[in-house]
């Protein structure tokens, strides 16, 4: 009887502190912050993995990733939350920071879940950007138009998925 009581007490204590216990047992935690200028998607949350598109190539970040800095290119950031479900969020540009203590910050200028992208608008914008590129004169205008094409292409790709 005493043993039973003790084990239920123990079980009660365990279940109370379960979430804490479990996250402490995860030797590798990834403190993940993902914010756009006007919206916070994740604020110091624990997630399993984050895939980011960067100018140094697309790469996945797991807990205990080597510290690094990178710069985002237009594309989809995929966040695999603790329960495994992936969330896809399109980012325009920004920075990625992986610190020594395994905290990850992704700061984007403009970021939206891919559901919020209008596919037909994306295709139209791509056409406009391509015609702009064809008619642009001068280095700066050409570069600006090329950037627009790059972004629009990434958007069409993301919306299409």
């Amino acid at each position: 009887m005493a043993l039973f009581l003790r084990s239920t007490k123990l079980a009660a204590r365990l279940t109370k502190g379960t979430t804490k216990c479990f996250s402490r047992n995860y030797a590798d935690q990834m403190n993940f912050t993902f914010a756009a200028a006007n919206q916070i998607f994740y604020n110091e949350k624990n997630v399993k993995q984050v895939d980011v598109p960067s100018f140094s190539g697309s790469f996945g970040i797991l807990p205990n990733h080597v510290p690094t800095l990178a710069v985002l290119r237009p594309g989809v950031v995929t966040v695999y939350e603790d329960d495994g479900s992936p969330k896809k969020i399109f980012v325009s540009s920004g920075t990625i920071t992986v610190n020594e203590d395994s905290s990850v910050q992704v700061l984007a200028e403009e970021a939206h879940p891919i559901e919020d992208i209008d596919g037909s608008a994306a295709r139209q914008v791509l056409q406009e950007a391509q015609s702009q590129l064809a008619t642009a004169s001068g280095d700066v205008a050409k570069a600006e138009a090329a950037i627009a094409v790059e972004v629009a292409e990434a958007l069409v790709l993301a919306a299409g998925n």
């Binding site: 939206h112 919020d116 950037i147």
Partner: protein, 58 residues
């Protein structure tokens, strides 16, 4: 990466353009909020030797 840097743009210019494009393809219900982020009003006046140089320009 280098084609825009070669043309004299920096990453912030790149980012602004990319963000503008993304805002244009959002679904209509998000457009009103997005257009607020497209606004900018700030103007700059360089100062030389304690006096403003040219009238405000971006």
């Amino acid at each position: 990466m280098s084609y825009w840097r070669a043309a004299g743009l920096n990453y912030v210019n790149y980012s602004n353009i990319a963000a503008k494009i993304v805002r244009r393809v959002l679904k209509p219900e998000l457009q009103s909020n997005a257009s607020k982020r497209d606004e900018t009003h700030v103007k700059f006046t360089p100062w030389i030797k304690g006096k403003p140089a040219k009238p405000g320009q971006q």
